[in-house]
Subunit: 898 residues, 2 copies
């Protein structure tokens, strides 16, 4: 017969602790065995839970007796007994699975109270209000969780009581002992009315009811759904921990508090926290009394005496020593809840302390310097995605602002991190003009297009009414390192009136006009009216050290997406090992060449087109010269024209006229040709290699510009590694034919320049068909770069620009997706296609170079997946480079430890 | 040492004939061994070709000697010798691979001519012009193919000669013997100038040059590309056949002709064909003389005497007996080329005769009745896709019309077969109005939308400037059985001016206005100005018999796509075993409910929406009642709302006002909500299950309408099998959640109606992610129906509506795709995903019902693939049902014979 119940002090082999006792049981067992004072208790193992589930609520033979024995030990330790009217022992009964499932299962506190014991508690604590508050809370919790009385019945009774006591919005703590006593009686009545019987008064009966409810809650629908989402096995079951409750409100030598072993904001090595004398833990949290400092040093000037250090020096010394032992044992900053009951410190909980990115980096590096952990461990200690906090200007979180009464006007997608404040403008030209005279502006658009780039560059932040995480606005903003909130469905932008109307959740609308102040939180997707204070980005020497360790550990190469010389320089400074995606569309949009580009697109014949291409080619060559020079010695992947031709099409009459004049054509003919290029679904239209194949000359001119620039630098002794990438490939023959064009252009250029440079020709893999046919495509492609933005669009059949109307609901209320698949790679679907392409591509060409250049290249979980399937590199926007370097290192370290 | 050269009379085991001698060599060998008189000759085997390719143009030991011996046999048989100035033997040297590669490799005719033998030929034939014509043709062919003299040089010389002789457009046959003699001399000069040497005069040297060129042509780039497209092995090689040339122009007892053993238009069992006395085969083809009838019966009245039957009765009798032997041997109608040289009949070629669909059906059924072939063989004899010809009104082909001087105004996609003529209208309402008064109209649109359906129904044919094979216009037209030409890029439709402008290939434009006559050929995608004569669709009793055999043989179920009671009845009449796709969007567009639908979409709250849905539900119920009744006893798959909500959005101010009035809202607010629903890529937007999930109530109302209708029919004893299908699924949870909604609606309905009906809930599989995750999806879906239109769009990343600008070029000049993937399933890409989904789905649920309801369900090659991967059924538009039934039978028969 196996053991069913484990006292906290029982010896259990380390590897069995969590599976058997759950996370909570493990923590209490470890602390108890370390000699840390914790309120005594015991845990019913997960095996009991599984027996219970398989036997219709029954318990293994002997389990009930084991509980009685373990309980007796607790009673003996504390000198109180469960159900004893004189010295009642109260216990908590909590669930706790192998992995944390926060809020999914049930908990019951203050168990052991009834009409007699509540009086004993009142006497023992000397606080009748406290005793009846605990009692009514117990009745509500037990009624709800164990007896299945509708929650709302208790809420209604409480509301009615408040009305009777004075007014409806009375806070709970303002209710008197007498009122609470009456409430307890009302609750008893409700339970009897609904269930046909009173709440059990026998404490042991209460205990078994609570244990059964905890085990039963493993199979409640929200827990089942959570497990499915998190891929937690249904077979694990939950443990059930029964623990004595201790009370910090027993007088002046009692109290409760919370402490961090280091500063969770800055990482400074100093005890950090607060306490309340003669109070329960929930009083500290409730905020009705102002907590006091733990240390004299951290107390406000003049109030040093109230600090725990001065008020209870012996207790403080003991507590400090306990916190040090806990940190030493767990080898990380701890977040500790404690209660002092009549001068005795109890540790109720210790866990790894949550911290800001700043603190995470500082603590991790400090622990290495202190010899506690290795650099590899330090790398695992920092949440890669949290580095955004460090690298960008920040607002307080929406929750923090809400506490100060500042509420977001509207919420959209956190499209590009950081925060910014400025005056509203609606047009790129206005943004540029005002920025030149020093005005900080926020560019507000329905959506952005390539023609808005100069305005996005000039603005502090960008706000769009439509578009997803990888919309034009989002992609460009991240590339520029600008904060951006996209897809704010509640906005209506009226360019004609120069106003933006915000529909609020209550149906009201609010109108902001051009010039009004606005603040954006691109990290949370929040939009605020007015100018809020924004904290600047941090520079942290510890981060540089962490990055050096990251580079030592990671296997995955990290490149950046950049298409300007400045971008290239920034990328290099932030540690990029090359450019993984140099888009060429922006080059077409520069002021000095847009008209030539339009003439090229709208030319009447191949001959005419060729003449305009000849004008454009040397301009592009100049761009590449500078980018290649900035990336000297490193590879640069240049993507040939990807966007639909129609993006370059003029829409205004005056633009038609300008093109007509340049072409010697008439404006109505130009307009007609422009209109004929309109597409219903441009994302799935005439773009990428389809343009390359059907409008000959464009790819040739681009390849010539790339290779001519490379040759000219080579002449100056500057090493260049151009990689020419063909986008939107679905058919092997597309690559075969375009590669022939590139190779022919190369031969021409090398002849003209009298020298050769090495170059690669490869493809973007961004269509499901390309993944399926990767084996064929690899015959012609020297590298693959996964364009997972588009691959996500086509695999899901979801346009990034139009996803705002349903995708947020998929992630939140419907629970269909763990995360926005445009932000985090969908491993089960899109990832499976990527893995298929890797396998098939490498089977054809073992030295196929493999990278990823979608937005996912800067997202830690996606990067881990890329490392796992053996990609050579990922490429991300320059500001995400530290995130990517860290995530890649973590992936490598985790792979070693498997 | 293996044999290299085979005389036509050599015995070769049947199974080696084709691999060794190629298709052409096989035919000649078989005929010779049957005792059919063919001009003698021999074949160098494919093994010689492979040796030649591997040995840099060398020949296997002994091969040259074998050629000399085989040639000697030919010379002995005919009493002429190669290179003999007195009695010159001329030969043809032709390629011929295991499978036909038409026009891909080289051929040389009249080999053996030089300055001496041409005179001998002139004397022998008594026709100096003929001799020099043959000579100059030989020089050009040999110069081009063997000596690699640019083709254009000969063309230029010929043009110059014509100018010298009179005028530039002189036909070749008008050149005199003297002129041709001069031309031959000029050609000689060109050859010498380009190659530095004269054309070989030695006939054996000519022969080896020609054989080498034929073998070499196996590796010319166009042949390699063709083989890659057709998946023909490079290793097979070509055979090379050398055959004596015979001459039908030796006098009155000579002649040439072509014959079919049955009528290739009607299938009638009677010799069909024509001949020319004293003429060569090419004279019959050239059309410079009018050929004469073979039989007296088929000769024009009064000209019976000129028929072969009367003019050369003995020759005719022998010829008839030869044709009968050939048909008996090959067990099918033969297309025979023959030459009579001095009273002796030679069969130059026999092959299975090409025929119209009418003839194919008639001949196949007749051959069964004659006991020649089995019904299974008969089914394989008819090209399933050709049945379209029978089932629709037809124009002559564009080539036939061009011969009569009638040229297409423009060419687009053959979106829905058939032909129609009528007056141009630009608006659906006009089409309906005019059709009511008996005017036949062609509806011309930039593109069609669901609001145009009544006009499409009223029109004879539909023409659109944009859109692909599965655009709205194409899909709806096929469903209605209307002819449609889509995606005619050369059209600009100006609704305001009520004109359509056609840009012609020469840059000129032509304008047609409302009311002008126009003719469409939906089978070839051609558009004609004016009213051309259109032949009616055929009814053929033999087709009914063939269909019965098809149903006996096929394993695959055949359903129809239909969403009206008329459509359902038509489907049933044409043999559908159920409805595989009943779209519900059209039900929303009916006049009496469109406004209610718009109000539902634009409602301000869930409550308001519910009220409008309650109005719509009984209307839909009525639709389903009729459809289910028509399909009594058969399954009907109803697809819940698939289209983006925005399709239902009013665009005009008056429509906004109407909705605002109905909702009690103001028009500007309605307009704003309508505009907010605009999408950039609606195909990838808020549609299908995404609407079902985020706009609760719509799917519930639809499921209620389906199941209430089913219950009400069940009450009347009418058996119904509704299958409710959820579209645009990419995530298993989508199905899980919507199935719960459908099941809850079912429980409600069954309670209300006091009875239950069986129903299934399944999903459309139309996104790549659904294929990848099919195993998970099958946990919740009872059936899959592959929506291969959308799956093709997302797998390729190509919008069907926007593919017109590049996809035609992919199929034709670029050779990247064998066929439009929206017309024929892309087996390598989309098909691979379908097969993956089948495998994964069935692994989860072994009884998963599997169908396909994309446009590919009516395309024979796609149907064969569906049969191969084990689908249960395909579903197609009703007019395609005979095609689908036949194709399914063929797939089953072929599967047995493998």
């Amino acid at each position: 017969m196996t053991k069913s119940v484990y006292s906290f002090s029982d010896d259990v082999p380390d590897e069995q602790l969590k599976p058997l006792l759950g996370g909570k049981g493990q923590g209490l067992n470890v602390m108890t065995r370390l000699g840390i004072p914790v309120p005594p208790g015991f845990t019913l193992s997960t095996e009991v839970c599984n027996y219970f589930r398989e036997h219709d609520g029954g318990y293994p033979e002997g389990a009930k007796q084991e509980v009685i024995e373990a309980l007796a030990k607790v009673e003996a330790t504390l000198g109180r007994r469960l159900g004893d009217p004189e010295a009642p022992l109260l216990v908590s009964v909590r669930s706790g699975a192998r992995v944390s499932m926060p809020g999914m299962m049930d908990t019951i506190l203050n168990l052991g109270l009834n009409a007699q014991t509540v009086e004993g508690l009142a006497r023992m604590s000397g606080d009748r209000r406290f005793a009846f508050d605990a009692y009514r809370r117990f009745l509500q919790m037990y009624g709800d969780v164990v007896l299945e009385v509708p929650h709302s019945r208790f809420e209604q009774a409480l509301s009615a009581l408040k009305v009777a006591e004075g007014h409806a919005t009375l806070p709970d703590y303002a209710l008197s002992a007498e009122a609470l006593e009456r409430l307890a009686a009302t609750y008893q009545g409700i339970i009897e009315e609904v269930t046909g019987a009173p709440c059990p008064t026998d404490a042991r009966e209460q205990l078994w009811g609570a244990i059964g409810a905890v085990f039963g809650s493993w199979d409640n629908p929200r827990a089942i759904r959570y497990r499915r989402m998190q891929e937690i096995s249904d077979a694990w079951g939950t443990a059930c921990t029964v623990q004595a409750m201790v009370f910090g409100n027993q007088g002046d030598t009692s109290g409760s508090g919370v402490a961090f072993t280091r500063n969770p904001s800055t990482g400074e090595r100093a005890l950090y926290g607060e306490y309340l004398p003669n109070a329960q833990g929930e009083d500290v949290v409730a905020g009705t009394r102002t907590p006091l400092a733990l240390t004299a040093a951290s107390a406000p000037p003049g109030q040093e005496g109230t600090s725990l250090e001065r008020a209870m020096p012996a207790v403080f010394r003991e507590f400090v020593s306990l916190t040090e032992r806990l940190e030493t044992h767990f080898r990380d900053m701890q977040d500790i809840e404690f209660t002092i009951e009549n001068g005795q410190v109890f540790i109720l909980q210790t866990r790894t302390g949550k911290r800001t990115a700043h603190s995470a980096v500082t603590v991790a590096v400090a622990l290495v310097d202190e010899g506690v952990i290795t650099p590899a461990e330090a790398l695992l200690r920092v949440d890669a995605s949290s580095l955004d906090q460090l690298l960008h200007a920040q607002l307080p979180t929406p929750e923090e602002l809400a506490k100060r009464g500042i509420h977001a006007l509207a919420v959209g997608l956190p499209a590009s991190p950081g925060a910014a404040t400025g005056s509203i403008v609606f047009h790129a030209d206005d943004a540029e003009r005002l920025a030149k005279v020093g005005t900080k502006v926020i560019l507000v658009r329905r959506e952005t297009s390539p023609e808005d780039i100069h305005g996005m560059q000039a603005a502090e932040g960008i706000l769009t009414a439509t578009g997803g995480m990888t919309s034009h606005a989002a992609v460009v903003a991240r590339g520029l390192g600008k904060c951006c909130v996209a897809g704010v469905g509640a906005l209506s932008v009226d360019y004609a009136k120069a106003i933006v109307t915000v529909r609020q959740s209550d149906g009201a609308t609010r109108v902001l006009k051009e010039g009004d102040a606005m603040t954006l939180d691109g990290s949370h997707g929040a939009v605020y009216a007015g100018a809020l204070e924004v904290s600047a980005a941090t520079t942290l020497p510890e981060l540089d050290r962490l990055m050096l360790w990251a580079d030592e550990h990671r296997k995955l190469g990290i490149r950046a997406n950049a298409d300007t010389p400045e971008g290239a320089r920034q990328a290099r400074a932030l540690g990029a090992q090359g450019i993984g995606l140099c888009r060429t569309e922006h080059m077409f949009f520069a002021d000095d060449r847009l008209e030539a580009v339009r003439c090229m697109v709208l030319a009447r014949s191949a001959e005419e087109r060729r003449r305009w291409l000849d004008k454009i080619e040397p301009m592009q060559e100049g761009d590449f010269l500078q980018i290649f020079e900035a990336m000297q010695g490193l590879p640069v992947t240049v993507r040939l024209l990807d966007w639909p031709l129609h993006e370059f099409i003029p829409k205004l009459a005056e633009e038609h006229e300008a093109v007509a004049l340049a072409l010697g054509d008439d404006a109505s003919a130009v307009r007609q040709r422009a209109e004929a290029m309109h597409e219903l679904n441009p994302m799935l239209g005439h773009r990428g290699v389809r343009v390359g194949l059907t409008v000959p000359g464009i790819y040739r001119a681009q390849a010539r510009a790339v290779l001519t620039a490379a040759c000219r630098l080579a002449e100056r002794g500057i090493e260049v590694h151009p990689e020419i990438m063909i986008p939107v490939v679905g058919i092997a023959g597309e690559v075969e034919q375009m590669r022939a064009v590139v190779d022919a252009a190369a031969a021409e250029v090398f002849e003209e320049q009298g020298r050769k440079v090495d170059y690669l020709v490869g493809t973007m893999i961004e269509l499901p068909r390309a993944c399926v046919r990767a084996g064929e495509i690899a015959k012609h492609a020297q590298f693959f770069s996964f364009g997972t933005n588009d691959l996500t669009q086509t695999t899901f059949g979801i346009s990034r620009d139009d996803s705002g109307t349903f995708l947020p609901a998929y992630v939140s209320e419907l629970g269909l997706l763990e995360a926005d698949p445009f932000a985090r790679l969908d491993i089960d679907g899109v990832g499976a296609l990527v893995a298929m392409a890797v396998e098939r591509g490498r089977a054809t060409r073992s030295d196929l170079k493999l990278g990823l250049c979608g937005e996912h290249g800067g997202e830690p979980r996606s990067i881990a997946f890329c490392a796992e399937i053996g990609l050579d590199y990922v490429s991300c926007s320059p500001p995400r480079l530290p995130v990517a370097r860290l995530a890649a290192a973590q992936a490598a370290i985790r792979a070693l430890s498997v």
